[in-house]
Amino acid sequence: MSANLPEFNLVKPSSIAEALAAFRDQPHAKFCAGGTDLIPNMRHGLFEVETLIDLGQIVGFDAVTINGADIELGAGISLSKLVGRADIRERFPAIVKACEKVAGLSHREAATLGGNLCLETRCLYYNQSEWWRKSNDYCLKYQGDICHVAPRGNRCRAAFCGDLAPAFMVHRAEVELVSLNGARRLPLADLYVEDGAAHLALQPGEILASVHLPAARARSTYGKICQRGAIDFPQAGVAVSCRKEAGVLQFELAFTGTNSKPILLEYREPLGPKTDADSYFEALEKQVQKSVSPQRTTTTAPHYRRLAVAALAVRLARGLV
């Protein structure tokens, strides 16, 4: 018996259909992929479950399929495997850069793409031990009545901090979700909702089965602001892609760590040979500052994070020109 985890039953389906059926039988169950976020959260007493459905044994859940112009990544692929794929690195540089910045190497061996995209939101007042949270009367995300970050507001402000979502967004990824009602496909940005206590548009029992990437190439990169070089969630992260259309450059940017969902900014101003680059990037920097709204979810001040994320966005965008 574990001294660190509550009791639960583990179900080990070998197909997605079996996993969906397991949820139908145990509707209060939770899915576990690599467990690198879920198990620490359980150890901190952030939730309890009677049944855990282990997605790690599903056959073919980590497959990469190339169908003409569409690349499909199984949600069970580990971040280490993604980092090791030369084709993904070449076509989608931001994705591999973001993967390399997630946690540490031993986390990335277990951590999956699906788990990263469905990562729980995080907050200074939530990712704490039980005695810490209890002594603070808990919070809106768990058993409490107020959000300590924005006490006058009526929603939880916990921040989405997954590194991969912005990188996939700027490559225009779509996600395939499956449930007992069938499959649906959405742009990745539509998977998220601006509410720290319910930030995923997944229906109960719905599984993120795979991620589709269009074959069209774009130059891209990813950078993150954090206090340590490893094992540190982003204070803010930025992915940028740059496409040349009709002789002018256009940027797409996406941010993590700043809001309860990752934010996509499709910047439609063109950068052409005659544009004044300095004023162009000054305007872009202002637009980024307006697009994100960091809150007191970390020990780093929100105002600093807003300025830093915009400065980083411009530095990365300039590097792609």
Partner: protein, 158 residues
């Protein structure tokens, strides 16, 4: 619930009834009495519990033992052979890569995982592989030197 799980631990096949919620670190330390693997934090933050699962470094403190069915698990206890230290253990000893020693089993297992994939890593690669392992004593310089020395020694021996 308990289930029968087959493991290979440091080369020895083991079959055991393991509770669904038992963490691999609890199984190794409490059931198998392999106390070389350390618990340094409350889950996933320090690397002290690093072991090799099927040859790759993983954190035993956030891994459920029963998800390791059929896996080959290696811990610090399996590193030396016949009373002789492994190349990494010797290098950590000779280069003062260990002080209080608490982080050392995790450092050595993470380094072992690295050297098996990349026998001649440069400093940046060593730092990347050990990025998830925290040491409060050495200041890391001597740890990196130790891994480099072990790689050089193995290259010399080959």
């Amino acid at each position: 619930m308990k289930r029968i799980v087959s493991l290979n631990i440091n080369g020895k096949p083991v079959e055991d009834a393991i509770a669904d919620n038992l963490l691999l670190i609890e199984y190794l330390r409490e059931t198998r009495r392999l106390t070389g693997t350390k618990q340094g934090c409350d889950g996933g933050e320090c690397g002290a519990c690093t072991v090799l699962i099927n040859g790759r470094p993983r954190l035993a403190c956030i891994t459920l033992a029963s998800t390791c069915d059929g896996a080959k698990i290696e811990t610090i206890e399996g590193q030396g052979e016949g009373g002789r230290l492994s190349a990494l253990q010797r290098a950590f000893h000779e280069n003062l890569g260990t002080q209080c020693g608490f982080c050392t089993p995790g450092m050595i297992m993470a380094s072992e995982g690295l050297l098996r994939q990349n026998p001649d890593p440069d400093d940046a690669e060593i730092k990347a592989a050990l990025g998830g392992n925290i040491c409060r004593c050495t200041g890391y310089v001597k740890i990196i030197k130790s891994v480099r020395a072990a790689a050089q020694q193995s290259a010399g021996a080959a």
